[in-house]
Each structure stands twice: as structure tokens, then as C-alpha cells.
């Protein structure tokens, strides 16, 4: 690991692997997360995001491979790592039978926040979470967004160098999600490295760097710009046409078409590099006697990009998984 500058990276892993029996949850994952950046770790449920994060936090031992977090080996120095990191899980880890203040106070004592600064730190967190005046309320009585911000407060009360957020916005309304990301930006400005997992593809927009994990493997990673610029070599066109079923079946047989996905009443077609142009596609559809109402090239979404990294066979099931999660709000 000598070739890496441990000081400029918050997280480095080499061949990190975790098996549960015969299942390989995380399969030789190499991560490079720079200090100070917001790193988005994306992928559908069960792809291995949480398992990776848990290994990095020292919650789980890797079956194979090595990892360094803030310069400490994850297998031999987990206790050193624990003092320096914050961790917030999607379950929020709040004591519902403790008040807002008591929760913060408890986490402050867990991380040995000195008594001299404890009070000020708790007050600061209450202010950040917009909970001023509600210090004495039981955590159970808070609604989603407040709970989430209180959980964030609990996980950063000791001013960690690195903050892990495991699906922090799961099950929270869109307004709270936006507020939450604003808070994350502020933390990032203070110099805290943020590693967030999410299955909301649109949240990738909030991150400086991204990694996409699918079936335990990293299929794409890099800065957001890099990924957007290099990832998708072809283009995406949206088509509204009648009847949809026949159109979808026909488009799938077309040479140069990588993927055909239906989103509501539009057909989303991913075209390979050197594939047909929108005008060609329109001509072919009309030639088949199908009625084309609208056809245009669009900017590929983060989802399109990530799906394009997955083998052709798996694309359909990955799309379906992502759609289910979007609709289920899970």
C-alpha cells in the first residue's frame, strides 16, 4: 500500500471482498476516496453498498482484501477508525424513548466529547437540525425529516473527519431530502469527507465523485464530470409512438440499439456509438406502419449511464429494480 499517499485519501481499498456463505456480497472492490470530497456510492438494493460501508466502519470483517480508512487498517485498527468517523444508517439509530437533548448528550459521551465543549456542541447540533425549542421532546414524536437531521447531529457531534451516510434519505420526503443535502454541503465545506450510499440515482448530482456498484462489483467510478463525459458513448432518444408494444418489440431488433426501456408513455432508447440517428429511427418506425408522435435526443440521466456499464443481459433486471425502488419509495 506504500504507493498510495495515505494522507490525501480518506478511504483506500484493494480487492475488498465479503462472502456470506456462498454468496459474494462484495467482490474485489477497489475504492479511492479523496479527503474532503463528497463521494456517492450508488447501486440498487442488495448490490453490496451497505456491506462495503460496514466493512469500512469496522462493523464487519472483510473475507479478503485490504482497506485503509483515514490511514488506519480496517482489520487491525478498527478502534482508531471508530473515534474519527461518524456513521448514520438509514434506520437513524435514535433512542425513541430519549429526548432530543438526551440523544445528543448520549452520543457525545460515547465519543468522549469533553465536558467543556459538550453543551455548546449539543446546542450547535440542535440549531443545525432546526430543533430549537424542541430539546425536551422525545425522539419518537419527531417526524421523518427532523428525525433524520437529529440522527445526523448525533453522528457528527464529535466532529468526525469522515462521515458515512448509509441511505440517509431513504423514506424521507423530497423537501427534507433537499434540506438534508444542503446540510451535507455545509459539512463538506468545513472539510469533512462524506461517503453516502443511495439508490436514488438523482442524488448522484450532489456528489463530487461517484462509484456504482452492481452485484458486488464496481462497474463505474470517477468524478461526476468524468463519468458523464466518458461513460456513455452513444446517445439516448425518447420516442412517443403508437402502438407502443409493437414499437418496443421492433426497436429491440434494430441494429445499433443497446437498450429499449418504457417509461410511462414514452420509449427510452439507448443507441450505441455509431448507431442510427433519431431521424433514421423515425423513418424505420414509420416504415413499419407505426405512428410517431414525438422523437428527440435527450441528455442521458445518471441512471442511463450506470445501466450502460452493466452487461446487456443484466440491464433489464437492473432497470426493473431501480424502477421498483423509485416507485416503492424504498
Amino acid at each position: 500500500m506504500a504507493e498510495f499517499d495515505l494522507d490525501s485519501y480518506a478511504v483506500i481499498t484493494e480487492g475488498l471482498t465479503r462472502r456470506f456463505g456462498k454468496i459474494v456480497a462484495v467482490d474485489h472492490v477497489d475504492l479511492r476516496i479523496k479527503r474532503g470530497e463528497i463521494y456517492g456510492f450508488l447501486g440498487p438494493n442488495g448490490a453490496g453498498k451497505s456491506t462495503t460501508i460496514r466493512m469500512l466502519c469496522g462493523l464487519l470483517d472483510p473475507t479478503e482484501g485490504t482497506g485503509y480508512v483515514l490511514g488506519h487498517d480496517i482489520t487491525t485498527e478498527p478502534e482508531r477508525i471508530k473515534e474519527k468517523i461518524g456513521y448514520m444508517s438509514q434506520r437513524f439509530s435514535l433512542y425513541e424513548d430519549l429526548t432530543v437533548w438526551e440523544n445528543l448528550d448520549f452520543y457525545a459521551s460515547l465519543y468522549s466529547v469533553p465536558n467543556g465543549v459538550k453543551r455548546a456542541r449539543i446546542e450547535q447540533m440542535i440549531q443545525m437540525a432546526d430543533l430549537t425549542g424542541r430539546e425536551g421532546e422525545l425522539a419518537a414524536h419527531l417526524s421523518g425529516g427532523w428525525k433524520q437531521r437529529l440522527a445526523l447531529g448525533c453522528s457528527i457531534i464529535h466532529k468526525p473527519e469522515l462521515l458515512f451516510l448509509d441511505e440517509p434519505t431513504a423514506g424521507v420526503d423530497p423537501v427534507s431530502r433537499r434540506n438534508f443535502w444542503d446540510l451535507i454541503y455545509r459539512l463538506s465545506e468545513e472539510g469533512i469527507t462524506i461517503v453516502a450510499t443511495t439508490h436514488y440515482m438523482d442524488e448522484a448530482e450532489h456528489c463530487d465523485s461517484l462509484g456504482f456498484i452492481y452485484q458486488g462489483r464496481i462497474t463505474a467510478h470517477g468524478s461526476r464530470e468524468e463519468i458523464k463525459a466518458n461513460a456513455l458513448k452513444g446517445q439516448v432518444i425518447e420516442i412517443e409512438c403508437q402502438p407502443m408494444r409493437e414499437a418496443t418489440i421492433f426497436l429491440e431488433t434494430l441494429p445499433g440499439v443497446a437498450e429499449v426501456v418504457r417509461f410511462g408513455n414514452t420509449i427510452h432508447v439507448v443507441i450505441e456509438e455509431d448507431g442510427p440517428l433519431p431521424t433514421d429511427v423515425e423513418a424505420r418506425l414509420t416504415g413499419e406502419g407505426l405512428k410517431v408522435n414525438r422523437i428527440e435526443a435527450t441528455i442521458p440521466s445518471i441512471e442511463d449511464i450506470f445501466v450502460s456499464f452493466v452487461g446487456l443481459v443484466d440491464r433489464r433486471s437492473l432497470r426493473a429494480q431501480l424502477r421498483r425502488m423509485r416507485e416503492g419509495g424504498l
Binding site: 466502519c57 462493523l59 430519549l98 438526551e102
Partner: protein
Amino acid sequence: MKSRLLGMMRKEFIQMWRDRLTLGMMLFMPMFVLGIIGWAINTDVKHMPTAVFDQSRTPESRELLHAFTNSQYFNLDYHVASYEQVTRLIDSGWAKVGIIFPPDYARLLRQQRVTQVQVIVDASDPLVATSAINAANAIGQVGSLKIASETLQRSAGRVTPPTPLDVRVRAWYNPDLVSAIFIIPGLLGAILMQTVITMIALAVVRERERGTLEALIVSPLRRWELMIGKIVPNVLIAYAQMTLALAFGVWFFDIPMRGSLTLLYFLSLFFIVGTLGFGILLSTITKTQQQAMQMSYFIFVPSIYLSGVLFPIEGMPPLAKTIAYCIPLTYYLQILRGIILKGIGISYLWTHLLVLTAIGIVLITTSILRFHKKLG
């Protein structure tokens, strides 16, 4: 380290205080159970319907019968004229006890010779039978000493026991023949064990269910700090529970406190800590609060039946005996009865202390090891 441990304990206390229903139940449960069982035993065992076949019909026989009546354990409901009538009354369930005087009872007594009064007890209800045999035997002893103080033979009121029981030893420590006195210290130990196991197992499993355990594990909190932080508050609750139950037993059931209270509290610590260790062990093999509850009953039932709370260990088959001596409650029970009823000191109990310490160390170590700080 100090901050973490104190924070953990403070949190546990706040949580206990917030859940006042559970706290109240834990504190008053032993009193409640002792109350019910204590009173039930008092009323059930006394006033047993008794059939008398007095072939002697002398002042001597009437005097002994009088002693039976005065004990309040026997109601002389039936005076019959034949042995067959006695057995028929017992077989049909109208009488639980039969007393039969031989025709030469008074004559033999006057000659200072051994005489026999036959007491037949319906043994189908072992609690009733034990109590009746105890009572009859004690009356017999008292009676014979009174009538023939020169005779050191204690078999004047010899019983023909349907079950071989060493009734004299028990009566010795329980001269008033109040069963509650005997059963209450045992129950106290059993209920203490049950509530302590349940309380701590639930406290840990709840953290697992709510996901807060994950937050604890990812924090710098050490495994032993987590354990101590959970154990200490529960030890205090257990002591409070024990004190309430003891006070209740002393005031309402006239439980004698013959031995040293300090010694009792000191030895109890070893039992409580070991039991808490077991509770934590239980929490590592159960995933939900419901499972933890069910598992705790799974432990409670053999403990209460095999430890000698209800039935003496001496009468058990070898396998049951072996199991009985692996159960901490067995030893704690002997400590409780020894100190409370017999007033014995540490010199009689140090082996119990050693065994409890050994079991405690094994349980706590296993649970620390089993308590995955990593979520596997």
C-alpha cells in the same frame, strides 16, 4: 472510557424510568406472585377434611385429637366406626386424611410403651400430602413428649407414609408448619431470576431491533463497557426488587430473617451478575423481543422445577439431579433458605459462592465472546 461508561449507564436509567410500566412490573412482580402463592398455600393446606376411627375412646385419644384440631390443619369432619369407612371416605375424596387409634392406645401409653396411631393421607395431591404428613408428625412428636416425657422414643404418632419423605428435617426448620415460609424464599429466587433475565435480554434485543446497537458498535464504545453499562443498572433494579419482596415476605408472611442481611445481599450479587450474563447470552441468540421472552420461559420452567423451589432435589432421578446441580438457582435457593430460615453463615455457604462465581464467570465470558461486536 469514564465518559462512555457513565453515558451508557445514564442512558439505561433514563430508558428504564421512561418505561414506567415495565419498571413497575419488574419491581412489584415478586411481591405480587409471593402474595398470591403465599396466601393460596396458607388456605389450601389448612383445614383438611379428616375422618377419625377412634377405637380407644379414652381421654388420651381425645387429647391427641384435640391437638389435631388445634393445629388448624385438620377438620375432624367424620367420626366413623370402621376401617373400611375411613378408606371409602378417602377414596371418594370426601376426606383427605384418616386417623385411626388402636383399641389399646391408652393402655399402652399408661404402660409407657410404644403405641401407634395410624395416619392415612391421600397422596394424590403431593402438596396436601406433604403438609398433612408434616403436621401429623409434628403433632405426634409434641403429643408423645407431653404424655410420656420420660420416653425418648419419638414414634408415638408413627405415620404410615404413602410417600417416603424426610419430614422431620423440614419440620425442624419450619416448626410452625407454615408452608409459605418454606416456599417464599424459593419463589423469591425464581422470580428474581426470571425478571432479571427477561429485563436485560429485552434491553439488548430492543437495541438490535431498533438499529441502535449498530450505532453503539460503530462507536468507540468497548464490548465490556457496553456489558457493564447494561449490567450495573440492572443489578440495582434487581436489588430493589429483592428488597421489596423480602420486606413483603417479612411483614405479611412473618418470614423470619434469621441470618445476616449483609451476607444475603453480598451473595445475591454473584447470582444476579451471573443471571444477567445469562440474559445477555440469551440476547445474542435471539433476534426479536418475542423470541427473547419465549426463550426466557424455556429457561425459567426447568429452573423452577429442578432447582428445588417446589420439589426437593433429593427425590429426583439421577439425570434430573445432575441438571439441577448445573442450575445457578439451585445454589442460590440454598443460600436464600440457609440465611433466611436457618440463619447460617458464610462458613456453610462458601462452596455455593464458589460455584456461583464459576458459573458467573463462564456465562459472562461466553456472552462477551458471543456478543459480536461485529455484526456477522
